[in-house]
Amino acid sequence: MSKQADSLQIANVSRRRFLKGMAGAGALVLAVRWTPSFAQDQEKAYGADAMPNGWVDDPNVFISIDPDGTVTVTNHRAEMGQGIRTSLVMVVADELGADWDRVRVEQAEGNEKKYGNQNTDGSRSMRHWFEPMRRAGAAARTMLEQAAAQQWSVPVSECKAGVHTVVHQPSGRALGFGDLAEAAAQLPVPERSTLQLKPASEWRYIGKNSGPQPDGKIGQRPLAIDGEEIVEGRAVYGADVRLDGMLYAVIARPPVYGAKLGSFDDSKALKVPGVVKVVTVGGQPIAFNPLGGVAVVAENTWAAIAGRNALSIQWDNSTAGDNASYDSIAYRKKLEQTAKSPGKVIREKGDAEAALADADRRVEATYYMPHLAQAPMEPPVAIARIVDGKAEIWGPVQNPQATRDTVAGRLGMDPAKVTVNVTLLGGGFGRKSKPDFVVEAADLSRQFGGRPVRVQWTREDDLHHSYFHAVSLDHLEAGLDGEGRPLAWRHRTLSPSIGSLFGPDPKHKGEFELGMGFSTMPFDIPAIRLENPEASAHVRIGWYRAVYNLPHAFAIQSFASEMAAAAGRDHRDYLLELLGPARKIDPRDFGDSWNYDENPQLYPIDIGRMRAVVEKATEAAGWGREMPKGRGLGLAVHHSFVAYTAVVLDVEVTDAGDVIVHNADMAFDCGPQVNPDRIRSQLEGACVMGIGIGLHSEISAENGRIQQDNFHQYQIPRMSHAPRNIRVHLINGGFDEPLGGVGEPGMPPVAPALCNAIFAATGKRIRRLPVGDQLRS
């Protein structure tokens, strides 16, 4: 990121924020900001530079120090379990030289002008913020050292920050951070080019407790910053915010996507004790807008739920088009038919059709992945109030700035008049990057004269009105030579696009959707043809953890196993041959100029790293060993979010057809590992969630209505489904590589590894997810 310093702008930065307690004194705090200047620099922006509102590294924005030495670090990214409130604070604390026990975290409100980009998705938080947060910490440390030098009238070069103190090295005199805070706050922020970042050898928190899984041992790393509050029930999630005079709302929304309210009878609802009023909420089935419907507003949540149960509503499907007849089984069959004909060509190498025709042997398979709902344990919930023409929001939102803008749009307000307080998220997984539920609360508060209103989604609401993971159908054909070597590969992928959420249905996947493991398929095969036939959307489609990587990896990694079986070869050996020799591929050579918005020269598709995770996972799992009857090892590898994951699952299929996942070995390479234990826990979680996708989870529709009402029908993994052992092997953690993603890339290879293991155990091939009862006789 060195070239970024060129167009640095520093504008009237007040330093008062640095001193705790003066932040609220009306001090104007402007961010030091790098502004992309495309006119001067024809180079495309990548990484954090490519994000709306970029990044900020001003210590005055992120760090304040109390006179008693307490260091408060502002975390501006949403915390949904990925541990960013701990990990980014570790980075700042390390560069600053702060003692972990004297550091606290404060959550930023939604304000990208001040904080830089806050949209917490795409596995980007650490990838984009490691360097700015290091610089913020280093700048604050330098200011403390300068303040000490002034106080002692000595050269600053003789003053060095230790742990929470600055020491004058020749004399041994020392001053605590708290003693220096006020003087440091008066100093200018040092020029970025003058900052001295600490060498890794001086880090006390970053990267600690790395290496093999500590097998139950408790490491010395900083523990999660919110851990104690969570286990005591004191941590505040969106649902936990309580305001005086607050009303509680539950909303009935149109069951069919695009339908609208016809008529309703609220006479019974109004008789429910505690129900205050029944009102309508306007909706628009596009982007982050609410779906609309009928809101029961009450004195408590239970009255609102009971009131809604007593509503009688006629929905009008006339605006829903053929969504009203959407049947997910019929739709799958339609996709199967469509997949028989060629589609829009995405990538072509050699003459795949001719090579397929000439092949000694052809392998063919069709894979299906259903709709999924993110189903975070905390269903969507938000609180809004409007006072003196200003709106205030409390909610578990992944994208606070989009929340602010969407609420402002709904209320006809300047976004500057909307304050978004970001609570902890009780899970996100992509669902809470869409603030439709917050807009509902804002709309209702306005209808009640600005009174605080909490909108609570029930689990039924969450499953019926998710932004669903799109259904996907993938048809693959391969041609093998007489030795079983691959000659040709043809892959047709069909799936509604998230583009359908934002405008006219494009019916084809966009570049970023194809770039999630489809156009970027890395196998070294002489002839390749990748096609994307048409598929239209009939429900609300949105991001789900790892997004289109899930079906692409499921299809490609299952099919590699099928090819190996057809060739009579060991799957691991065959997979390594498909990957080919270690090399770095520029994704643009595959027609993908998206590359997770990262610079393809810094972040090529590195086949050497893919091979390394395959080798590590298989070695750790004892690949090739004799397995008991009914038990097998399954392998899959995938590159996503500029990180590399290979998974081997040890799976038993019982005589009754039950699947038991005994062990998992996950080899993961995300480059630098800032908080290795949290990386491990993210991978453990991805393993469990991936097993759920493989075994149980499915959202289906009939007559346009979602058929799963609650967790008795939408199955998610339980304790008994989790492997007894999930061994996460973190490799290649050197800080000379650029940072990769963590939250999502663990997911995609899990379901194909599961199905490959089922094949190894039973000889039965699962091509339609979830496994469900397909193995029961």
């Binding site: 029930g233 009780g426 967790f711 304790m719």
Partner: protein, 160 residues
Amino acid sequence: MSTINTTINGKSEAIQDVDPSTPLLWVLRDHLGLVGTKYGCGIAQCGACTVHIDGSPVRSCSTPVSAAQGKSVTTIEGLAVNVGALTAVQQAWVEHDVPQCGYCQAGQIMSATALLKANPNPSDADIDAAMSGNFCRCGTYPRIRAAIHSAAKAQRGEKA
């Protein structure tokens, strides 16, 4: 609307103006402000709302408040005897960095606490049986299992 007399986290409560069929969960959260107990499904599937009534784990989303009449209710806020002093289970949760998002963990801890009270040395199968009604979407199950074993060990150590 009768009065429900109950004890919540050691404190006597006379709950008034509440329909006795109201789920205990919403009385705890909305009426008493004890928001550590979470809503997850409303149909006793996910376990996020688990509390103890007279020491036994119940799903408060599907338990009418009337069931607490004359009984003693413990929520996550009242689990530790002293504020700030963690129980062995809570301590193990912190040390294993069990929580990811943390939303389900109050329910997990209440179930695990009840399990260890009934069975001080649970096997993995015992843990599966006792904990499979508590969902965690983040997938913290391996760490929950490790933390339960760890807490069991610590509790046995205390007794010894």
